[in-house]
Amino acid sequence: MQENKLSSLLKLRGEITKPIRLALLSGWMLLFLIFWIFSPMKALPTPTEVLLALRRMFAEQHLLYHLVVTLKLNIVGLVYATVVSLLISYLGTLPLFYHLNRAVQLLRYIPFVGFNLIFLTLFTIGFPLKVAWLTTGMSFFLVTGMTAVIESIPRMKYELAQVLGYNGWQTFYTVVARPTLPHMMDIVAQNAAIGWVMITSIETYARTEGGIGAQIYQYSSTNNLAEVYGLLMLIGLIAAVEDAIFVFLRRMLFPYSTLAERA
């Protein structure tokens, strides 16, 4: 029996029990800690140094304020990017907007700095500029993912609506907009990670308000690596919570979508 359970660890789509999953997670974390503690890299701060740096930043360096600034930017940017991207993706189903949709997708290859001048001209330095940067940067990736979801709708679904006698709007709502929402949520969740990468760069460019990105820049330029790693760990933690929230929301709002995956 035990042998069977262990052999499923290396089996394709092998199923494991909850205790084994927990044991695996603990094992991997332990392995990571051992590697970190005994790492030969001298520049790497120890776990204790990182934890102390985090405590110091919260107590003396207003880390909570910087965290709120970044979270606010993250949420506002994500909401704007989602709305804009949904609009561009859904409009892409109409021939009139197809090329606009393709162009937006291609823009994800352009380096971020390419847009600096345009944004500095259009927006006031500070929160509006950062939101515009984040919204635009994330939208390039979101539109790509969302359009792929729309393109994967089987032709038969459109034809079902057609033979039932649905008009264009009814078909769009029933076949395209409504059933793709759980997948769109997945795309947003996946790209939220890209958002965090962008946020740190954006806050490095526009440091007036502070934020986690500005803090990382400041500490790395003064070679305070324990603080830098502490902030990176904090981002990882927030990202994990964000992921869990998306999973929870998907299960709550679209219960059929998780059933479909299991079927």
């Binding site: 038969m156 034809e159 079902l160 033979v163 039932l164 649905y166 029933t174 059933p179 479909a260």
Partner: protein, 292 residues
Amino acid sequence: MASYEDCVAGPLEGHVERREALLKLERVTQSFRMNNGVELVVLKELDLEIIDIKFKPQIVSLLGPSGSGKTTALRIIAGLDKPKFGQVLIGDGEQGSLRRVRAGDVGVVFQRYPLFDDLRVVDNLVEPAVRIGKMSRKEALDQALQYLDRFNLVRQGYSWPVQLSGGQRQRVAILQQLITGKKFIVLDEPFSGLDPISVSNAIQLISEIAHQHTLNTFIIVTHDVSAALLISDHVYLLGRERDEKGNPLPGARVVKVYDLIAEGIAYRDNMEDLPRYRELYKQICRKDFPLL
């Protein structure tokens, strides 16, 4: 105008009163350009006429081997594709009056029974009934629950489509078309991939629905000879004829029509025991199919 109250439940015996044409395919030709630039003629001057028979269920089969253009014909009948030449005409409710078919006139039950997976089973019926059947939400819900009850699906009413078995999906897909008031319902290969018992159940189900809705016309697209004979009142054999040298001519058409009412075997119980059924089955399998 006839109503559901005029319908008589089958199986039906007695006098056959043929009335006006319900659906007509006139010289329908369809071709596709292939990657090498060659024009592939799939259907060539396909003529087909489905006549209304008073108080009788109407189940006709489009029978043909694989690649005989059945699905192409289905798509044209349903208004999903336009033919290169020819036309499909459909009765518009007034006696003898026909008009060109439009998408939405003919219901289709597709092969894998697609449903709206983000709606519960009952809402898969209610939503189309409200939008297309022009019912109020309450009327649509009452009607949907009646249908689900009649077809043993009440328990599944509040399930998600993904939780249904293949047979249950098939029933919901048929009901979805019925509730929107479709007079013509085409079923694309409803017996394909089913074991013999499931085929028998599917035949029984479709027959039951047809007998309860004698104002509807069911068109079964299939390659299953036995099922086509067991379920239909007319079987249209679709295929490509051959020239004197035995080479197939381009484009399929209706090469033979089997009028099972005239043959005296339509709507009979235990049809498989009738000698005429066995003769027809042998004739189609051994003589007619190999010639296509």
